[in-house]
């Protein structure tokens, strides 16, 4: 489940770093986090299973990178529903304030 995959502080910070710094190795991703490499690997696998990140080779190094399209879709869905609630709330406001 994509949204469940997003709902974790470590995973969100991994996504944020990949978004800002571009493709990174597991070693780089675990530096200074206080989280073990194994745990980072597990979180990346979770993110990978829902298509939010993918691994690639850069020279001899294995790196992880963001699947931007997928992330934008997930965000767009909630933004879309939130916009509908904004519109509904505006109609309710007009309805009770006029009547």
């Amino acid at each position: 489940m994509l949204f469940a995959a997003l709902g974790d502080a470590t995973r969100l910070s991994l996504l944020r770093r990949l978004s800002v710094e571009g493709p990174l190795s597991i070693t780089r991703l675990s530096e200074g986090t206080g989280v073990t490499r194994q745990a980072i690997t597990k979180h990346l696998a979770t993110l990978g299973s829902v298509g939010l990140v993918r691994h690639a080779r850069r020279g001899r190094e294995q790196v992880w990178e963001l699947e931007r399209k997928r992330l934008e879709k997930a965000r767009a869905y909630l933004d879309h529903i939130a916009a509908q609630w904004d519109a509904a709330a505006a109609r309710l406001k007009a309805f009770v304030e006029e009547g």
Binding site: M1, G7, H80, A82, A87
Partner: protein, 150 residues
């Protein structure tokens, strides 16, 4: 950043009793929400209806009413918008929609909080489809209406 819930808070310049009626009376709810419902709201009851927007009347709505606390709280479960009429949603998880009413600060009216939660359990395919439907105009329609009434 929560991916599971959407929360909206709005202050309405109207007494609590008036806002409560607009939310808890199925006819009034349908008027501003733009749906036609087949009966009154009661805890435990399933209320069915159709979208009352020209060109979108084929879209069905089903609300499972959860809890009603007069002038304070109203909640129901449903399959979140937007929906494809050709799809069967009955086996999928629903989201919970909650309306909470309070006195606005300084007696300025009624503070209303709307929360929709449970998105983490909605299948990915459905979210992708909603995105597609949005770009094809359902969302645009809603925006036009909002602009029209405001």
């Amino acid at each position: 950043m929560s991916t599971d819930r959407i929360e909206k808070r709005v202050v309405l310049r109207a007494p609590r009793a008036r806002v409560w009626r607009a939310i808890s009376d199925a006819k009034e709810f349908g008027t501003w929400f733009r749906i036609t419902l087949d009966g009154p709201f009661a805890a435990g009851r399933t209320v069915r209806g159709r979208v009352a927007i020209p060109g979108h009347e084929h879209l069905k709505v089903e609300m499972q009413i959860e809890r009603i606390e007069p002038e304070r709280y109203f909640s129901y479960r449903w399959h979140p918008y937007p929906k494809d009429p050709a799809q069967d949603y009955s086996g999928e998880p629903m989201t919970l929609v909650e309306f909470t009413l309070e006195e606005a600060e300084g007696g300025a009216g009624t503070a209303l909080t709307i929360v929709e939660s449970g998105f983490d359990r909605i299948p990915l395919a459905r979210r992708a489809e909603a995105f597609r439907m949005n770009t094809e105009g359902w969302g645009g329609q809603i925006k036009n209406l909002a602009a029209y009434v405001s």
